[in-house]
Symmetry: C2
Subunit: 177 residues, 2 copies
């Protein structure tokens, strides 16, 4: 099967702060035209920060689209031209006040490949030491440090409801088996 969808026309709808939106008309492999709504995003990183005692450093933050404060692993958007590992170190400093002696890539994943270009790079951070925090002025982030068994229980009971967090914590579980 030929998978590719060629773009026939592309219409710009929104140029924003975090995302842009365009609508592409494409030719499908079966020769039909179809509309694809595409959110453009610069990409992001997330970090699974593990302390020497095995606890995981998490952040709780209000998320307007969810209308709730979610417990998540630390994360943030890539700046133009920024290396993902450098971004991961920067976000871990800014959100959690931690420097990482080791920053190892786990995987990269599209969060919503049906409509968003966002590719998220997930890292495991170890050998953590305290530093200063420098939060963005409109971020309101609380740091919480929890055991992995409790975090896995929270995935099961709905206390954790964020995709990158569930993927990252389950990857940590797998590494520790």
């Amino acid at each position: 099967m030929e998978h590719f969808e060629n773009t026939v026309t592309s219409r710009r709808i929104h140029e924003g702060r975090i995302i842009n939106l365009r609508e592409d008309t494409v030719m499908t492999p079966s020769g039909r035209t179809a509309l694809r709504e595409i959110v453009e995003h610069k990409g992001a990183v997330a970090i699974v920060p593990v302390l020497d005692d095995g606890r995981v450093v998490m952040v709780r933050q209000f998320r307007k689209p969810a209308e709730d404060a979610l417990l998540e692993i630390p994360a943030g958007g890539l700046e133009a031209g920024e290396d993902p590992a450098d971004c991961a170190r920067r976000e871990l400093r800014e959100e959690c006040g931690l420097n990482a002696g080791r920053m190892e890539p786990l995987f990269s994943m599209y969060l919503a490949p049906g409509y968003s270009t966002e590719l998220l790079h997930v890292f495991l951070a170890e050998e953590l030491t305290p530093t200063e925090t420098h939060l963005d002025e409109d971020e309101n982030v609380e740091v919480e440090t929890l055991d992995l068994p409790l975090l896995l229980q929270m995935i099961d009971d709905g206390g954790i409801r964020d995709a990158k967090t569930i993927a990252g914590l389950l990857a940590l579980y797998r590494r520790q088996k």
Copy 2:
């Protein structure tokens, strides 16, 4: 800390086929105003379908935002008022031609809670039996059936790059430990 962000004003930008887009001005907990770009999505389901021999039924599909065909677990959008478990059964029939004797919820997760309302419900499907497939006319989906150890290796080497798929497969791995 008070987490809630009250909406001050809301501007509609796009009403689309899969997503809408609005921009909210919010009052942050620290008393500042901030802009929040919000993609509205009706929600979706994804299924980890496990055959009696342990192999997992996957789909490969071109994703325009990624400009590539991605290997994913089966998934699809909720219709208005549809029960997520019913939707999971429907999508598994339509995409893979399988009926599920057991359909068990694993977790629900926001895919991109920084800017999207999409909540994805992930199910484990077992006791699978063949039925007819009924694909949407502009879907071009190839079914591939693979062992979990190979799929886990593909997460590690970048052959799988989809968030719901990585979370779902790692959850299956954890259940089988």
